[in-house]
């Protein structure tokens, strides 16, 4: 039986891992390569690196991080943030990433999804969607971009469907409302997307306890759950999370 994945997310700024709450007040957590290797040894199923470097001239640092990670860990990992062209996608994939994650840039230029899928296959193109609860939208959630600062006119479900049609092979659904709260994932929209689309959905935003992961992987129908601060600060180990999931009949890799 296909196992549910526990994915650790690292926000990387100018070559250092940071963590902010709702994209603000970033603090330094360490070297992303060393952190990646430690999580790899602890049995993480997949890693995601979001480059939140602001200045374009410092983006090259990320390619070096990707290359060094790929030399030291032998599981799939995904890289997102600041990828605006097909050339950007190519650079990250050739440095050794299995997948790229497109978010705001895919909204601004949906063709980027198609171009990426044509070059490296749908399995390498992840569409990350920041969702904000909004009763005026058809599915009840609005797509927001630029780290939640900019509202779009897109409905989350419609955009997820469009992304799949354009060639995205996986959706990362990040709840802007839940992000950083440690109060649990947003189950409603995660379940809606997971049931509507034939591609995997990774739940993101709000993880605080192993029970939150269980809920989103079972009730929320997610294929994978993304965690950050609950493991970065040592509140829980990956083993504790996976033991809890296995004890509650969630199939996980041990």
């Amino acid at each position: 039986m296909l196992q549910k994945r526990v994915v650790v997310c690292l926000d990387v700024k100018e070559g250092r891992t940071t963590k902010g709450i709702q994209f603000q007040n970033n603090i330094d957590l360490g070297d992303p390569v060393e952190m990646a290797e430690a999580y790899y040894r602890q049995g993480v199923d997949e890693l995601v690196f979001y480059d939140i470097t602001a200045s374009a001239e410092k983006r090259g640092i990320m390619i070096d991080v990707v290359r060094r990670v790929a030399e030291r860990i032998f599981i799939p990992f995904c890289v997102g943030g600041g990828l605006t062209t097909a050339e950007d996608i190519k650079a990250v994939i050739l440095a050794g990433a299995e997948k790229v994650s497109l978010n705001s840039q895919a909204v601004k230029n949906p063709e980027l999804i198609r171009q990426g899928a044509k070059m490296y296959g749908s399995q390498s193109i992840v569409l990350a969607i920041d969702a904000k609860k909004d009763a005026s939208m058809p599915c009840g959630y609005r797509v927001v971009i630029n780290g939640g600062r900019t509202l779009t006119e897109l409905d989350v479900l419609a955009w997820a469907r469009r992304g799949h049609e354009l060639g995205a092979g996986e959706i990362v659904l990040n709840s802007i409302d839940a992000d950083g709260t440690k109060a649990g994932y947003e189950l409603t929209i995660t379940k809606l997307i997971g049931e509507a689309l034939p591609i995997p959905v990774v739940a993101s935003g709000g993880a605080g306890t192993p029970e939150h992961l269980r809920a989103v992987l079972q009730e929320g129908r997610a294929d994978a759950a993304l965690v950050a601060s609950m493991v970065h600060y040592g509140t829980y180990s990956l083993a504790q999370i996976k033991d809890y999931l296995a004890d509650h009949n969630v199939p996980v890799r041990r």
Binding site: L2, Q3, R5, A70, E71, F74, E98, R253
Partner: protein, 209 residues
């Protein structure tokens, strides 16, 4: 976890996905390799890794365009080890439903689309436990039912006389590794499957069939 055997490993490059992770695995395990799309550059290597991502029919076209289909046939005929990975494990068979296309025919069998259904997503993407169906040097030291990383929509169905190495379950139980003579395959990506996967690669690189 390993040491080089002094051999040179050839990796087939035919625009079938990114091979960086295969190279990184060989570097980590301490082996020398040649990555090339030229049969001339690969024909004198000691063993071949035949990776692949993507579409079976496109992969066959790309192999033929470079003369790499003949290289694989010659290599098998000379009794040198070949490891097929992912699409590489599929197109060593006679044919694939993906296209459909005739394949290399190095081993009798065919490749079929995963049925999915009942909430099961296709492609089969992620970690799944592999049950080893036999004792074999290729799996030495790897725990039974270890998990490996899969990304595929088609599955292999080798003929009855082919030795099945492992199976997994995604709606149906299907073959994810088989061996015949000096040719062995894995449907999953051992180079992206953590320490268990690296051990499988290491075992292949030391395999004396």
């Amino acid at each position: 976890m390993s040491g080089s055997t002094g051999e040179t490993v050839g990796i087939l490059d035919y625009d079938a996905g990114n091979l960086t992770s295969v190279e990184n695995a060989l570097r980590h395990l301490g082996f020398n390799w040649i990555l090339s799309s030229e049969p001339e550059a690969l024909k004198n290597t000691d063993r071949l890794i035949f990776p692949g991502d993507g579409h079976a029919a496109t992969s066959m076209e790309n192999l033929k365009a470079r003369g790499l289909d003949r290289l694989l046939v010659d290599f098998a005929a000379r009794g040198r080890p070949i490891l097929g990975i992912c699409v590489g494990s599929q197109i060593v068979l006679d044919s694939s439903e993906e296209g459909p296309t005739a394949c290399l025919g190095l081993i009798r069998g065919t490749c079929l689309r995963l049925p999915g259904g009942d909430g099961l997503k296709v492609p089969h993407m992620g970690w799944n436990a592999v049950h080893f169906e036999t004792d074999h040097a290729l799996m030495a030291g790897v725990p039974q039912d270890s998990s490996f990383y899969f990304v595929h929509s088609y599955y292999t169905k080798p003929a009855a006389n082919v030795q099945v190495l492992g199976t997994t379950d995604h709606g149906i139980r299907f073959v994810v590794g088989f061996a015949k003579d000096t040719l062995a395959t894995w449907q999953f990506h051992p180079e992206k499957s953590g320490s268990a996967g690296l051990k499988l690669v290491d075992n292949f690189l030391k395999w004396r069939p």
